[in-house]
């Protein structure tokens, strides 16, 4: 099983979620993060003093999926999250060794 993490622009969340639900993804976990990257930040003010904010609000979505779903999920996320402008975010894939569903004790593919 694989963990697919996607750091995306926050306002794409609904679209990405819907697109994933359409291809049969039934679970995901989302967190609020701040991203630092090529997308440059902006200046903000405080009582007339300027400062640069270079951590921008992003959302991180995490989906644990079976190996054979990985490519489809990546494609779906890319399609739904892309705006074409810098800062659209990244997808990271890593390995998951085991899954347990707390409620039933089921494991691995059954627990996804």
């Amino acid at each position: 099983m694989k963990r697919i993490e996607a750091v995306i622009k926050p306002f794409r969340l609904e679209d990405v979620k819907d697109a994933l639900a359409d291809i049969g993804i039934t679970g995901m976990t989302v967190s609020e993060v701040k991203g630092y990257g090529r997308q440059k930040g902006h200046s903000e003010l405080y009582r007339g003093a300027e400062y640069v904010v270079d951590f921008l609000p992003k959302l991180k979505m995490e989906m644990i999926v079976d190996d054979d779903q990985v490519d489809q999920v990546i494609e779906t996320v890319v399609a739904a999250a892309r705006t074409g402008k810098i800062g659209d975010g990244k997808i990271f894939i890593s390995d998951i060794e085991k899954i347990v569903r707390i409620r039933t004790g089921e494991t691995d593919s059954e627990a996804i």
Binding site: K9, F11, K34, E44, L45, K85
Partner: protein, 395 residues
């Protein structure tokens, strides 16, 4: 002591008291709207509210007051108190309009409009209704009874808002593929705080509009006015709560408060004319109108994040007509047709004029923020100040 002196002193004091309550509506509107919009637009909304108070009051001071009343003279109370009371009203009209175009309006063109509204448009309406009356003798002369401005303030703001929404369009992402996306309020305590500051401000708004407390009759009129004002607010809240519960088995506080405000707007035209039970009916109808108008405007794709059209425009009209229904008194010139004429004349002036002014400003500086700016939020793009910036404990 001469009775005239007594009356002058007491009414100056009373008017300052009423004015102070109205000024509480400045933070009132600010908190209400700051709570209703998304966090990324909170500072912008607060800045709008602050700038409106500043520039519209100044414009009214330098230009509008003369236009409205012709002269500063006042023998019944201190002329400065009389001015302050009138000045306290101006910002409200514009707040009504600014609230309804939140989350997409840019601040500089809005500030320009606030100046024109405070210097010219609103004073013109005051002139023909409460003031020097330049239409006197013409076929457009209006005789509407409108104690504290169901039409003069609330509908005026509402018509300007309607024009503004037509020009600016809806918020990015609000109506997508024929669907309405709900954009919930971000901070309910601020909404409640704001609504109650408005409610309390209304006591000064309507009570002060009686104009004097310096005789037994006037003292009664003021107290009755405040009582009826409050009663209509109570009724509006209760009916909205009941309707929400019937429909959803849930008590949606944002609608309950809008219901209360609807009731308050509705009673504003004639709180001194009704017996103590009529406001229950007027407020309840006001609250009901809000409950039905909010989704209606959404179906018409008139995107109004704070419900200002439903609260202020619809109930401004309803409240003015209600005087003609429940307190018609042809002997004193209060008739349903007179009220209706007032509503129509004000519409006939404010809507087209606002539309043209907004249209022209819009040619110079676009009112509507770019889609990208809307996505990022007005705070960062217009103010450079985020409302809740903290990356917790990072510094």
């Amino acid at each position: 002591m001469a009775e005239a002196d007594f009356s002058y002193i007491i009414d100056t004091f009373f008017t300052l008291f009423a004015m102070t309550l109205i000024i509480f509506m400045v933070p009132g509107f600010a908190m209400l709207e700051a709570g209703l919009v998304r966090t990324k637009n909170v500072t912008a909304v607060l800045t709008v509210n602050t700038m409106i108070y500043a520039v519209a009051s100044m414009a009214f001071f330098l230009v509008g007051y003369d236009l409205a009343f012709g002269s500063w003279e006042n023998s019944s109370m201190s002329m400065w108190a009389a001015f302050l009371f009138q000045m306290a009203f101006v910002g409200k009209t514009i707040n009504i309009m600014s609230g309804g175009v939140s989350e997409r309006v840019r601040l500089i063109p809005l500030t320009i409009f606030a100046v024109i509204m405070g210097a010219l448009i609103y004073p013109t309406i005051v002139n023909i209704s409460w003031g020097a009356d330049m239409l006197d003798g013409t076929m457009f002369d209006i005789n509407m009874y409108d104690l504290a401005g169901s039409t003069v303030i609330h509908s005026t703001g509402g018509w300007a808002l309607l024009a503004a929404i037509l020009i600016m369009g809806s918020r990015k992402g609000r109506y997508v593929n024929g669907k309405i996306r709900v954009i919930p309020a971000s901070n309910i305590p601020l909404v409640v705080l704001g609504a109650f500051l408005l409610w309390i401000g209304w006591f000064g708004f309507n009570g002060g509009s009686v104009g004097s407390i310096a005789s037994k009759e006037n003292a009664d009129a003021v107290a009755l006015t405040i009582m009826n004002t409050n009663t209509a607010g109570l009724a509006g809240a209760i009916i909205a709560g009941i309707l929400m519960f019937i429909r959803y088995r849930l008590l949606d506080i944002t609608m309950i408060l809008n219901g209360a405000l609807g009731g308050l707007v509705a009673v504003t035209a004639g709180p001194d004319l009704y017996d103590i039970h009529t406001p229950i009916l007027i407020g309840a109808i006001g609250g009901t109108l809000v409950v039905f108008a909010v989704p209606l405007f959404d179906r018409l794709r008139l995107d109004d994040p704070v419900g200002a059209l439903s609260v202020h425009l619809v109930n401004g009209i309803w409240g003015t007509l209600a005087v003609g229904i429940f307190a018609a008194n042809p002997a004193e010139g209060i008739t349903f047709m007179g009220q209706l004429k007032g509503v129509l004349v004000v519409f006939g002036i404010v809507f087209p004029v606002s539309f043209i002014v907004l249209y022209l400003i819009n040619k110079l500086i676009r009112f509507r923020a770019e889609d990208d700016a809307q996505l990022e939020g007005m705070d960062v793009n217009e103010c450079g100040v985020e409302a809740y910036p903290e990356f917790k404990r990072a510094i």
